[in-house]
Symmetry: C2
Subunit: 343 residues, 2 copies
């Protein structure tokens, strides 16, 4: 990576940004690649975070350099909620679960006065939040299990291509972070294999991550419920069961990564305490390592929250970041643009 | 794929085989690639099995053809024991477990008169087999758990690069099937992503599958024990626990594939009843599908066994193969050469 690229002036970056943009969810990737030749991170301000990323990528890809990393070991892992797309006022998968519960309600009149269904049906997010993890798990089981894997994938696609976010009135997949899309593309252009490692449901993400992030289903790791092989009308299928298989959060993240990848990655990005152990494990390995935390500091363009937030609480990991020398991305100051649809 | 390649005469194949071979475990892949230009399957006799494979690969890769399959969906799954390498007189991982138990015995004097340890230490495979799955599981827990994932990988490498098979007095990794190495290479050359889906331990395979089969760790699916994130001397590690996480066998195989890959493959190869549901699920999807069973019929060069065998029993799947039109590979007649070291 040449110095010229590292010190690209804001003016030329703005010039790049004035190019017409395709902002439809499915067309996010093409324009980035066009920019890449000019500036790989056009939506990042010329900050320490940006310099740290470019420096790291430059070092691990420099053949003969002391920090060179073989291409097979260039594995990068990204949390999803709050790291690649927004997570307020509730994890987007909660909106999906609520929509499903409403859809199923006609067949379940008993839900009318039963929590957490009652709050789900009335859209009362606060009471729902008060029902805690157990309440959410109950809703997920009711809404995510029972059908075959192929039926569920179709249900997800139907929802994700039509449902709108309450604040922005846009598809949830439009609320992905443009700077992170550019970072994913930069890493891949430099031989990295990019993975999602999310506390969210693995099969809730897989049907759309390739189109939106360029990350294929086999590179998506997440929480899961069990499935069972069975014959349905003489055809072999996998049925989704209302039973937790794996919780890919907190100390579960390094466990999930090792299970799926079989290697310790060299790059990890997260935004909450649920990413703490993943960052510790990734950056605790030998050789060059990169840890990143996205800090939500922009209440105007996105949201501002950290230590006190019910969603995406960032407290212990924020304390750990300093000693561990993780890069703390300040959304407000580091990101010139947040969402692809911003002009 | 041209007709000329499909009907390559045995003479020219033999001519290719007379080339000097590098048979060291780590050098298996290079010579195949050299052959590929000439004949992609030089160790396969000109049989129906060989024709069926080449026909399938030709159809799914022919752009504009009615059976064309997009490159992302070209996923092929292979059982390991008895499909890619031998599995007699016992699964090779059993030999590894026995060696580990012997190594640990000095610290466990209580094992002297306790089964299954006693049989393991004396190398009494028959009594051990009689202890059934429970006995084997006990040995695996005693020998595969307790250490960190990185320590375990090193233990596997130390064993696999030195231990010898009792019949052939060769490294276990030399007992891989040359025709299957060629098939893996052929599929990959045609855009397939090749996976191992084994009842064996995932972390027992991952340290060596890339070198031997060209299959990287993230494309190895297998049975697993749980791991736990922890700090060891201030360093973050994953510790292996004596607790089953997932059994990747029988109906567990499609479950494991969907969990790791998130797609239904279009090609599956196995050799025993443990592969039945995997073959049913893979070949039960829409569009062109290929199912293959390796039938062990060569008692001279390898072993001959099927319906009555304690290891790799092939009974129900053999019955199912006919109706399902799976390709039954007859080792004795279809394979000109079995192991890479054969002259």
């Amino acid at each position: 990576m040449s110095d010229e690229k590292l010190t690209l002036t804001p003016v030329s970056r703005r010039a790049v940004l004035s190019l017409p943009l395709a902002v439809a969810a499915g067309e996010l990737l093409a324009p980035q690649l066009a920019w890449a030749a000019d500036d790989p991170l056009p939506s990042w301000n010329d900050s320490r975070s940006r310099t740290a990323i470019l420096d790291f990528v430059g070092r691990v890809t420099k053949e003969g350099g002391s920090d060179f990393v073989q291409i097979d070991d260039r594995v990068a892992v990204f949390d999803n909620d709050g790291t690649l797309w927004s997570e307020q006022p509730a994890y987007f998968q909660i909106f999906f679960a609520l929509a499903r519960v409403k859809q199923l309600y006609p067949d379940h009149p008993e839900w009318e006065n039963m929590e957490p269904y009652k709050s789900a049906i009335s859209g009362d997010l606060k009471t729902l939040a008060a029902s805690g993890e157990k309440g959410i798990a109950t809703l997920v089981m009711a809404s995510h299990a029972g059908m075959t894997t192929e039926e569920f994938a179709q249900i997800v696609v139907d929802w994700i291509t039509t449902a709108k976010h309450p604040r922005f009135n846009r598809l949830f997949t439009e609320l992905v972070y443009q700077p992170m899309l550019e970072l994913l593309a930069l890493l891949r252009a430099n031989g990295f294999k990019t993975y999602i490692v999310s506390g969210g449901g693995i099969e809730f993400m897989r049907p759309w991550t390739e189109k939106i992030y360029g990350i294929p289903p086999e590179q998506v790791i997440g929480s899961s419920i069990k499935t069972r092989f069975e014959m349905k009308d003489g055809k072999p299928v996998l049925r989704r069961l209302p039973e937790i298989d794996f919780i890919d959060d907190g100390p579960g993240k390094p466990v999930g990564i090792y299970k799926f990848v079989g290697r310790r990655p060299i790059f990890a990005a997260g935004n909450s305490d649920g990413d703490l152990e993943m960052l510790q494990w990734v950056t605790g390995g030998k050789g060059p390592r990169f840890g990143m935390l996205v800090h939500h500091t922009d209440e105007k363009r996105e949201w501002a929250y950290d230590r006190q937030s019910a969603v995406g609480k960032l407290d212990k990991a924020l304390d750990a970041a300093k000693d561990a020398k993780w890069t703390l991305v300040d959304m407000k100051w580091d990101w010139q643009r947040i969402y692809p649809f911003e002009g």
